[in-house]
């Protein structure tokens, strides 16, 4: 199905099943431990051996020696695969650093060996017998030393793009002449996805055919890229990933677990399972790169922006890509004169890549703090300042409207619900005992991305509708919204729908990334259901154009039959995919939010503790308010981590992220998260898809950290522009406690 004109009325609009806060259909399996994750799939193939990945102990140089003899003769060891045994494996499209092969070390904890043994403990024990020797060479590890890095444009790998240099109007002139100006620098640190389930894979060969049971967000990418890395035909590879314990972008790509499970299984001559240990996840896999950002804003006394400049520097390995922290600034606010640019430094730290809302998450951490500072400079309420500078068209292309844009409504609704009028504009003036209390606001913005997505829907003689697509459920609720879509389209109840996901033998979907999963995958199911409806009507001798599907029946022209009866003589199948025309060019499609936060700062110790959080989101039709809310509160929690504690600490001499476990890399715990409130504004976006939906999984994160930092500033009067906002950065400038 080609979607190239705005959607009219369609069967989804009934909202009999779609749009309801249905419980997760996979919930009982999750809560009873019967939804197996990759490492626990003991039943898929017998005789599984255990692989343990060894990471390099230097950041850059060469591996000169790896003594496999002792490890090979250790108890239980079946095979040792050394990176010195083979040439560097081919790089797939989505990888920057080599995953295995050859002596060159590009980053710390790059995989240099896999030990395969009968038990995990034997494999791990033997791994310590390898005694790697290196020839280290100096590396580049300090982003601050590369402020003059070259201008580089690019995309994040999750669809968020930015130019190397874009100019609209005459920024320099407008900024120079502006009545009120801001010119500030902001930094965001390297961050880790820190998902609960590690990267894990079981691999089994059958002749030259390979099956991997893994944990991956993008099955079709994984199949293409793993085949390329291993030098095999994708036709001979099957990838299966039905349940995923979190990804956040860390599992978009092929990583060392699947490559080494495959190599280990070949070397050991039997199936091998591999999970990356927690320390390896931080330096062996990808992370969100640090940024240094400069923002200049110029406005008239009336508060209208006349000049906006956002420049961002990030770093990555050679041939890597920039963190697109300027992406949202192209679209979020009006202003005739604009300058946007990105610089990319070459660093020898581990590979930077997409993490939840790549680009916008760190970009808004800076931009929305700058907006808070500018509002203060204008002596204007920060909600009002943002409303004043709203735009309903693409600021770079005024003839191009937003398909939907309810940022102003998000801000107004949120301000009323949060009690924003109780905020004291003068910072550092509200006390609650020893606590300094403040409120902050931020706009949230993330683009809506359209990706082709396929599905196959089958009706059998029991009236059961089975959906098959390689779409993944990374904890988001894909199973449930896909079931809701099929139930709505076929006029059946949810319990008559079976959803099977994550298998590369199923039609390729959009996958889970860039908050595009919900809208695109359900649109693919919609397309397949349109085909199936047609087949059902024809099988029942009914006019497909007039057929109505409800109550497990299809009716047209005064006749009605049971769906099950239509399939009495064989299953009926609808197989199709959604593809998109040029609507995304004609209309800017984005999602919007307003985040409000109340924070308290201990006047003695400077510790920051959140009190209340509110997100108001406008993101098209919300397919399931319950799973969508879960997405948003999870994202708000991640935003709290980014604002207050998450930072991969770079050892700039030795070139690695030092705090590589969950004791050192702190993410929020329950005690950090106060009352969270989420509101979805009514919206249906016919330009987006037949589902009229968008996504919320990344929107919920975008802007949260800035709202927190702004609340902390309102509490203390101390502006911290380097994330995370930890107590050491404002401790000695806190107001005196009376």
């Amino acid at each position: 199905m080609k979607f190239d004109a705005p959607a009219g009325a369609n069967p989804i609009d009934k909202l009999r099943v779609v749009g309801r806060p249905t419980d997760r259909i996979d919930g009982p399996r999750k809560t009873t431990g019967t939804a197996p994750y990759a490492y626990e799939r003991h039943d898929v193939v017998p005789n599984q051996a255990y692989g343990y990945v060894v990471g390099a102990g230097i950041a850059k140089g060469r591996l000169t020696r790896l003594d496999v003899s002792a490890a090979k003769s250790a108890p239980g060891v079946l095979a040792v695969v050394s990176t010195l045994d083979m040439d560097r494996l081919p790089l797939s499209k989505m990888n920057t650093a080599s995953l295995f092969g050859g002596a060159e070390i590009q980053h710390y904890h790059q995989a240099i060996a896999l030990v395969v043994a009968e038990t995990f403990e034997q494999a791990r024990g033997a791994a310590f017998l390898l005694h790697p020797e290196y020839q280290a060479t100096p590396g580049r590890f300090d982003l601050q030393a590369h402020e003059d890095a070259p201008l580089v444009g690019g995309s994040s790998g999750e669809g968020s793009g930015g130019p190397k240099l874009d100019r609209v109007g005459d920024f320099d002139m407008a900024f120079a002449q502006a009545s009120v100006k801001l010119d500030q620098r902001y930094t965001t640190p390297d961050e880790s996805h820190a998902m609960m389930e590690p990267h894990a894979t079981i691999a089994a060969w059958d002749g030259d055919r390979l099956t991997i049971w893994t944990s991956n967000q993008m099955i079709a990418w994984n199949k293409r890229d793993l085949a390329k890395t291993l030098g095999m035909s994708p036709d001979k590879l099957r990838v299966d990933s039905p349940f995923i314990g979190g990804g956040f972008g860390g599992k978009l790509f092929v990583r060392a677990d699947s490559v080494l499970a495959a190599l280990g299984a070949r070397a050991a001559g039997r199936p091998v399972k591999v999970a990356l240990t927690r320390p390896l996840i931080f330096n062996n896999t990808t992370h969100r790169p640090a940024t240094m950002q400069r923002i200049r804003l110029g406005a008239g006394r009336d508060g209208r922006l006349v000049a906006i400049a956002h420049e961002s520097l990030s770093g990555d390995l050679p041939d890597g890509k920039p963190e697109t922290a300027v992406a949202q600034t192209k679209l979020l606010y009006a202003g005739a004169n604009r300058l946007i640019s990105m610089r990319l430094a070459t660093l020898d730290l581990p590979e930077g890549n997409a993490m939840r809302a790549p680009g916008e998450a760190p970009g808004l951490m800076a931009l929305e703090m700058a907006m808070d500072e500018m509002a203060e400079a204008l002596d204007m309420d920060p909600v009002r300042f943002r409303i004043l500078n709203d735009t309903q068209t693409d600021p770079e292309k005024p003839g191009r409207p937003f398909s939907q844009r309810q940022l102003v409504e998000c801000l107004r609704t949120g301000a009323a619900r949060f009690g924003w009028d109780r905020r004291k504009p003068r910072p550092g003036t509200v006390r609650d005992g020893r606590w300094l209390v403040g409120m902050g606001v931020s706009a949230g913005f993330r683009n809506n991305l359209l990706q082709p997505s396929g599905a196959r829907v089958r009706l059998d003689k029991r009236g059961t509708v089975t959906v098959e697509t390689d779409m993944t459920d990374i904890g988001t609720g894909s199973y449930t919204i896909i079931a809701q879509t099929a139930a709505e389209m076929m006029g059946v109840e949810l319990d008559q729908v079976v959803v099977r996901l994550g298998d590369s033998d199923f039609p390729a979907s959009a996958g889970s990334g860039g908050q595009w999963g919900a809208n695109n995958s359900t649109s693919g199911v919609y397309a397949a259901c349109v085909k199936l409806r047609d087949a059902v009507a024809r099988a029942g001798g009914l006019d497909p154009d007039r057929a109505e599907f409800s109550g497990g029946r299809v009716a047209a022209g005064g006749r009605s039959i049971r769906l099950a009866d239509a399939a009495l003589h064989g299953d009926l199948v609808g197989d199709d995919r959604i593809e998109y025309g040029s609507l995304a060019k004609q209309y800017q499609q984005s999602t919007f939010a307003a985040h409000f936060v109340e924070a308290a700062v201990d006047g003695f110790t400077g510790e920051v503790r959140l009190r209340r959080m509110l997100a108001v989101c406008a993101a098209g039709r919300i397919l399931n308010p319950k799973t969508a809310r879960s997405q948003v509160i999870g994202a708000m929690t991640m935003g709290a981590g980014g604002a207050l504690m998450e930072e991969l600490a770079v050892d700039k001499r030795r070139g690695f992220f030092v705090n590589h476990d969950l004791a050192g890399y702190e993410v929020p715990v329950h005690a950090d998260i106060p009352h969270q409130d989420v509101v979805f504004l009514p919206e249906a976006d016919p330009v987006s898809s037949p589902m009229k939906a968008k996504g919320v999984g990344e929107l919920g994160l975008c802007g949260v950290a800035a709202a927190i930092a702004n609340a902390v500033y309102n509490a203390t009067g101390v502006r911290v522009r380097d994330y995370p906002v930890t107590l050491d950065k404002h401790l000695q400038r806190l107001p005196e406690l009376a």
Partner: protein
């Protein structure tokens, strides 16, 4: 982990003898620290002597005042004990400020005293660390040191002692009771139990080979108000940036110890003597000679401010 042998001891002296007998042997109780370290081959015991079945899990009143806490009393039980809560509130508060409920259910009194540093370089076996591999150097000096020691460290090691419980015990003047492989016993004042690194950072406490902790005793109750203020970025389940254990009497006199700043719970007599004169007067002698490493210099003002917080709470009472 490396393969190891295992036995279960049936008396404290037999346990001590078993460890003394076998080179490379270690005790195991709750296992909340040593098992993690064994997985990483930071600890590589050849033999584990399980002391969990020894009858050292009671809290008893000592005639004439004070309590004896068995070495195997779990953190959860100790923090919840009525006598501890009533008379030694600083200890109860320190324990519940640490770790998680699950860990406190397993962790023992003796094991908690012996928990090892959380210096990230200690945990990464590819990095030099004089504590883990004596003579290899210290990667933390000049590296990421935000969590590390500002006082009491050396040119060989700047690791902190990470615990909370021992900081409270230090302020209470606890005594560590032990049994030796020959059956002899001794009592080690908590002040002398943890060692400063000097040029032997691998030696962290006063225990001799095979010597087993059997109990920790607390002297008669001190009275006063008890405080344990733990400062951290995350609201729970994090090691202290700075912690303050204090007992403060109505006249402002009292005693104080710091956690998170040194290789051992940090207490200075002159600081106790200055308690009546405010946080600055206490902080000065308490932190005299501090040598912050760079990105942990904030711990000095933070310690003083946290002291001020505790003193202000004491006054408000």
């Amino acid at each position: 982990m490396k393969p190891f042998t295992y036995e279960r001891a049936d008396s404290p002296a037999a346990a001590a003898a078993a460890v003394a007998r076998t080179p490379g042997a270690k005790f195991i109780a709750g296992g909340t620290n040593i098992l993690d370290l064994m997985k990483l081959q930071i600890e590589t015991p050849t033999h584990l002597v399980d002391v969990n079945r020894l009858a050292l899990d009671r809290i008893e009143d000592i005639p004439g005042g004070g309590v004896r806490i068995g070495a195997l009393v779990r953190n959860t039980a100790l923090a919840a004990d009525r006598r501890i809560r009533k008379h030694y509130g600083v200890l109860s508060r320190a324990i519940v400020a640490g770790a998680s409920g699950q860990l406190r259910n397993k962790a023992t009194t003796a094991g908690n005293l012996l928990q090892r540093t959380r210096c990230p370089y200690f945990y990464d076996t590819a990095q030099p660390c004089n504590k883990r591999a004596p003579g290899s150097g210290c990667a933390a000096i000049g590296g990421i040191s935000r969590q590390l020691a500002v006082i009491g460290a050396s040119d060989h090691c700047i690791a902190t002692y990470p615990g909370d419980m021992a900081v409270a015990m230090r302020v209470l003047d606890a005594t560590v009771e032990t049994v030796s492989p020959d059956g002899g016993t001794r009592a080690i004042p908590i002040a002398d139990f943890h060692l400063l690194p000097g040029d032997t950072p691998q030696k962290e406490n006063a225990l001799r080979p095979g010597e087993l902790i059997t109990a920790v005793t607390l002297p008669a109750p001190l009275g006063g108000r008890h405080f344990y203020q733990k400062v951290r970025d995350r609201a729970s389940y994090a090691f202290a940036l700075v912690s303050v254990a204090a007992v403060i009497h109505p006249d402002g006199s009292g005693r104080v110890a710091l956690g998170g700043v040194a290789p051992k719970p940090w207490r200075v007599d002159a600081a106790d003597a200055a308690m009546k004169h405010g946080s600055r007067a206490v902080a000065e002698p308490l932190l005299a000679g501090a040598r912050p490493a760079g990105d942990n210099a904030f711990k000095l003002p933070l310690a003083e401010r946290t002291l001020a917080l505790v003193m202000s709470e004491a006054k408000a009472a």
